[in-house]
Symmetry: C2
């Protein structure tokens, strides 16, 4: 690591999430990206080679792995002196659930939308329950927009299929709050800058690729999973999401996903 290319060191600094360097969350991003398949295992040594260049101490990695085991995300085997870590079935399910959204190269096509309206007062609780378990975007205390076919088993909600005519500023602000816009803008700039500066002479190890991929996926995940599942016209005019998405996948394509066995032998 001490011999890392200066561009790599610089890229790691630029891609690190200024808001969230929680180690357990970074490990989740790492496994989701490079060891999501059943049977895929990452050695303790590889984890260190991938994560320590982010400025994270071995002790912090151990603590995070402990927590992830306790929460049922990760299991660990020991083969001789080598620890091998892998996602549990629960961890794989959780990971698989968000993978399509994280890795979608194009935003979802405009599907039909429907709106749920709950009764003022008593209906608020009912709507909250639905929001917890489905892909709805709350618009107000008693209204929520969702994609696709409306539910058929709900007889306490007014259900309307809708076509959007006009989206006011307060809806943009509500769905894309300032911190989300800032996170997207700064990621876009970081990824673009890192892409542009990459020297032709750089010959990365699989773990260096993994470090950069993990940082990119981790940070993009924290943007894309907050986006409402709604058509473009719900985005504010200054929304940089599509440009950021394009840039993220351009850089990931330049850093082809290494195989677990290459990481473990690095």
């Amino acid at each position: 690591m001490t011999n890392a290319h200066p561009w790599f060191t610089q890229a790691v600094a630029e891609l690190a999430d200024p808001q969230n360097q929680r180690v357990w969350s970074i490990i989740v991003s790492l496994f989701g990206d490079m060891a999501q398949e059943r049977g895929a295992k990452i050695s303790g040594g590889a984890l260190g080679r991938i994560i320590e260049p982010m400025g994270i101490k071995p002790e912090a990695i151990r603590v995070a792995l402990h927590r992830l085991r306790k929460d049922g995300w990760i299991e660990s085997d020991r083969v001789g002196r080598v620890s091998m870590h892998f996602l549990t079935e629960y961890g794989r399910t959780q990971s698989a659930r968000v993978t399509p959204r994280i890795y979608a190269r194009d935003p979802a096509p405009d599907t039909p939308l429907h709106l749920l309206i709950a009764e003022d007062g008593t209906g608020t609780r009912l709507l909250e329950d639905i929001l917890l378990s489905h892909d709805y975007t709350p618009i107000g205390r008693n209204t929520a927009l969702g994609p696709g076919a409306p539910p058929v088993d709900q007889d306490e909600l007014l259900i309307l299929e809708v076509t959007t005519r006009s989206v006011p500023r307060w809806v943009h602000e509500k769905l894309f709050p300032p911190d989300l816009r800032a996170a997207c803008r700064s990621l876009h700039e970081a990824v673009r800058h890192v892409s542009q500066g990459r020297p032709a002479s750089w010959e990365p190890t699989p773990c260096q690729i993994a470090t950069l991929r993990t940082l990119i996926v981790h940070r993009w995940r924290r943007v894309v999973l907050r986006l409402p599942d709604l058509p473009d016209r719900f985005c504010p005019p200054d929304w940089t999401g599509p440009a950021c998405r394009a840039q993220v996948f351009r850089l990931l394509d330049q850093l082809p996903r290494p195989l677990p066995e290459d990481l473990n032998q690095d």
Copy 2:
């Protein structure tokens, strides 16, 4: 009047609105039905012959006319010893505004609907202003449904074109409260009973026809103008509106509208 046919006396009693016998409002219904055209005038004598059989005293008619003049609805001329009353331009405009809804024989065909959603909190006031001046039906504190094309000059509302999928009980109850359902049901029964009992031998005067028409129109007006301008599926299952409407117009057709000059010479 003392010689009125017993069926007529009975019909007047059955058609009288149990909730509202405000004389000024009855006079408004009368002019709207039989003297809405510019130049149409009703004599004081005719007003008495039409309204007094409802059990309303001449003094109450004078007080009501005074109020309607003061409010700018009615003007009065005196030709010799005869007072002639007629709608002002303002009165005609007010009357003409609701005439299409009162006299529509078929409920409005299902037009496209749109929904306005205001921001929680601050948007409530904005929506209230719009409700005052347009044909919107409030669904909740921050949502209102309206027929036809959505407004184009509103940039503070989320505007959605909608197709109704499912209407819950609380929406039925909100749009068709118990007193409205009861008023519609009792009018339906009264009109049906009056229609069925009409003897072939009854030969009405124009003013007797006018008495019955006024009672019917007055009471129907107080039902139909409260109905939301929404498709059938927003009506509760026990809603008697369409049957009542049909019965009202069947009876009105049997009591052809007299001309003002026939009323005045009666």
